[in-house]
Amino acid sequence: MKKVLALILAVMMLAALLTSCGKAAAPAQTAPLPVTTPAESAEPGAAPAPTSIETLIIGTAADLETPSRSVYNFDVYSGTLSQLAPVYIDENANVQPLATEFATSDYKTWTLTVVDGLTWHDGVPVTAEDIKFTIEYNALQSTGEPQTTYAEINVIDERTVELVLPSANVRHLSGLTTLRLMPKHIFEGIEDMTTATTEQMTIGCGPYEFADYNADARTYTFVANENFIWGKPNVETVIFRTFGSVDTLNLALKAGEIDMVYAYAGGVGAAAAEDFKTAANVSLFPVKDTSNTAVLVFNNNTAPASDINFRKAVAFAIDYDKFRELFGSEYSARSTAGFVPSGTFGYIDTPELVRDLDKAREYLTALGVSDADGDGIVELGGKPLTLELMVRSDIPVYERYAELLKANLAEVGIELTLNITDVPSFREITEQTHTNQAMVTKFTAFGMAMQAGMGTAYMSGLGASNGQGQIMDETFDAIVQRLKTAATPEEYLKAAAECQQYYAENTPAIALFRDSYIQAYNSSLGGFTVDGTFGILNARTWYSVTKK
């Protein structure tokens, strides 16, 4: 027995040895921040912070890999802390200045002026050359070709750059909300961005400086930049921490181990939001809907969804109330014809979608179907009328949406088959081959605003590679052109209304329900500032957030 005990002791010692053989957890490097009084500046740092929060931990289920601008998750998260874009979109879908002031007289030539006193974290001033360099460098890195977005990029003076578009675009600035500025003096000699060092890859000009990536703790640590033009933010240290699953992430928030959960363009699910309501220490913030949580997107260029009668039949067969009941949060609303979320710039009211099985059957009759064999599934041209629905395997709730859709459509005799695909296959199909018949997916706020806006980048089959809806219709294309070339906001709004009307009449996609972008945080926090793209996590929030 003594030998057994000795053996157990040896095992425990071995375990201790194994734990200590790795790199010790490095403390967050404190950036050399000189002590200064808060800069005299306009919003949001003008008012002194009411309280200072030492550390705020944001949990995420996204994978935190090596910190680098070329890594998607780092780019998104640092974009709310250490990197700045020229502009941001506020909660009312209006573009506002961030790193630059902007002006235009004809919506074709946009003048951006770097805000006074803005510097990179190494102290070098941010200049107009940096903006020009960022646009040109990004194009070269992503396509290997010079940029084609602008007809000209003219540096006017140290802080002013003129971006000349080939034609007027009133919404052009909304595309700049994710253009994180790059320091020319750091990157101009680096031909392949991925070869840059971590220090080079993480330098920014935002209110925080990147301090540390701890691979064992799976965290990014950012420390306050006291030299920032708005002064020192209210939170000293912000840590992003990754969790293995959404369930553990939500439990950690309830247990008070983290202060906020964050999922870009996702928020917390309705079931989690319901669960959080029972936790005294968790508060919810519903951001106005600028994204679509659950959309049924038809491939409008492939049978059977290429026929409007089929799409209408499906639209009338869906039980929208059941979708809200099963999947929506308390902030959800019934879907409306034309899937554009109400927070979108250019949105108009359209009728609510309702379930009407008789009308669904009328449209199917118009399609020319019959149930000759009496098995409950209608036939078209002698074959059962089926719709193959593609869903991504990494988002399980989509399969649940599909199950309800299957039951709904079966009631009018349409057979729905499920095609569960991995992410690379999903991308290949939606961006290149377009061989699917329909899919369930979500539309992000940024995606809805991309290119001509109004979700046209998702729907057009003639433009972007990500044209999931594959609309190849002259009428729609003409609307997209009007959106793209609108010379005034009035012209754009008129075209946007036409666009949404087109969606409402032609049903190329159906929002299964509408919901807010719900963000959850520890109830001891408050005073967040809301951003139309990123919700409560954005550069300005760090100057308004307080601890009760």
């Binding site: 027995m1 057994v4 053996l7 157990i8 095992v11 071995l14 375990a15 201790a16 194994l18 734990t19 200590s20 053989c21 790795g22 010790a24 957890a25 403390p27 967050a28 550390t55 931990i57 994978d63 890999e65 070329s70 290997g144 991925t194 540390d212 701890n214 691979a215 064992d216 703790a217 799976r218 965290t219 640590t221 840590i239 921490r241 990754t242 969790f243 293995g244 699953s245 369930d247 553990t248 439990l251 950690a252 309830k254 247990a255 181990e257 990494d394 991995d422 992410v423 690379p424 290949e428 961006e431 290149q432």
Partner: protein
């Protein structure tokens, strides 16, 4: 000695088969091997890029020459380049294998020791209350999937009791690094140990139960040797071959079993790398992971056989063969 050489030769043959499978698999699968190995998309890659990658991967050369190059690079421990992670596979594995081992090694040891103690006790009490209770618990535990076990442990010990962290291998700003790291290891190691325990226990327990009827046990009792000594020295020594073989096989299980645990506990190990590689169809990384796993299993098999030889004089001296 002869046996040892024979076993080494068979292990080497296994290794050759694995190398061949690893080499031919992406080349035999439907689709273009350049796109398969680089993860590039057909429509997005230019002709010049395609040609550059084709040359870089050596796909212009005859297959025999390609195989030669592949083996040569393996000998230099060059496991290829991941175009998805934009890094060499070897460097990624070097970062992650220690993390996997930190969880897997204690799990193998703890589960083996527990299996040994419990199985020997329960087997010697064949049919008793202790045996029924332990065996019943093990059968139930055997039916619990690893992910559920992980979530249960997190819910109880991290969420409700708040004793242990939710995941990771360390805290962002830990003051006592060793203690902090040990705290982070408790839940993943427990989860893996508990998931590896029942299969070992059940096999070993049956062996021990059968051994209690053997004459040598009767003689030992007749000599007045204590029950504990009979159980843990006499009986265990006789079933130790099975035990050692199971522990050896467990290396492969733990490497794959940690795939789930690493993801749930957010540990940046080999299992998590494999998951990412699968979902991104990153063939070079997957090839590297499979090669290293296979090497570990082969090495464990060799060690297992050698230990068995050392433990059992009947095998070592070839008595069975003489009979």
């Amino acid at each position: 000695m002869k046996q040892t050489i024979r076993q080494l030769i068979s292990a080497f043959a296994c290794l050759l088969v694995i190398v061949a499978v690893n080499f031919f698999l992406p080349r035999m699968m439907p689709g273009d091997p350049v796109l398969m190995l680089t993860g590039l998309e057909d429509d997005l890659v230019s002709q010049a890029e395609y040609a550059m990658y084709r040359e870089k991967l050596g796909l212009d050369a005859p297959v025999a020459a390609q195989l030669g190059l592949y083996v040569k690079s393996l000998l230099k421990l060059d496991l290829g380049h991941s175009y998805h992670y934009k890094r060499s596979v070897g460097s990624m594995l070097a970062e992650r294998i220690p993390n996997t081992l930190r969880v897997a090694v204690p799990a193998v040891i703890i589960s083996s020791l527990l299996a040994m103690l419990l199985a020997t006790y329960a087997g010697s009490k064949n049919g008793g209350v202790g045996d029924a209770s332990i065996t019943g618990a093990m059968i139930i535990m055997n039916a619990v999937p690893v992910f559920l076990l992980c979530m249960l442990l997190i819910t109880v010990f991290a969420y409700h009791l708040g004793w242990l962290p939710f995941g990771g291998l360390a805290s962002a700003n830990a003051h006592n690094a060793v203690a902090d790291r040990l705290r982070h290891l408790v839940l993943p190691v427990t989860a893996l140990s508990l998931s590896a325990l029942p299969s070992k226990y059940l096999i070993l327990r049956n062996q021990v139960a059968a051994s209690t009827e053997e004459k040598y046990v009767l003689y030992a009792r007749a000599r007045g040797i204590s029950e504990n000594r009979i159980r843990y020295v006499h009986i265990f020594r006789n079933v130790s071959q099975t035990f050692v073989t199971m522990v050896g096989l467990n290396v492969g299980f733990v490497l794959s079993g940690s795939l789930i645990a690493e993801n749930i506990f957010s540990i940046r190990g080999m299992g998590q790398l494999m998951t990412g590689a699968i979902s991104a169809r990153d063939f070079p990384t997957l090839q590297g992971c499979l090669f290293v796993s296979a090497l570990a299993v082969i090495a464990a098999d060799i060690v297992t056989r050698l230990v068995c030889l050392a433990l059992d004089p009947k095998v070592r001296l070839g008595i069975y063969e003489a009979e």
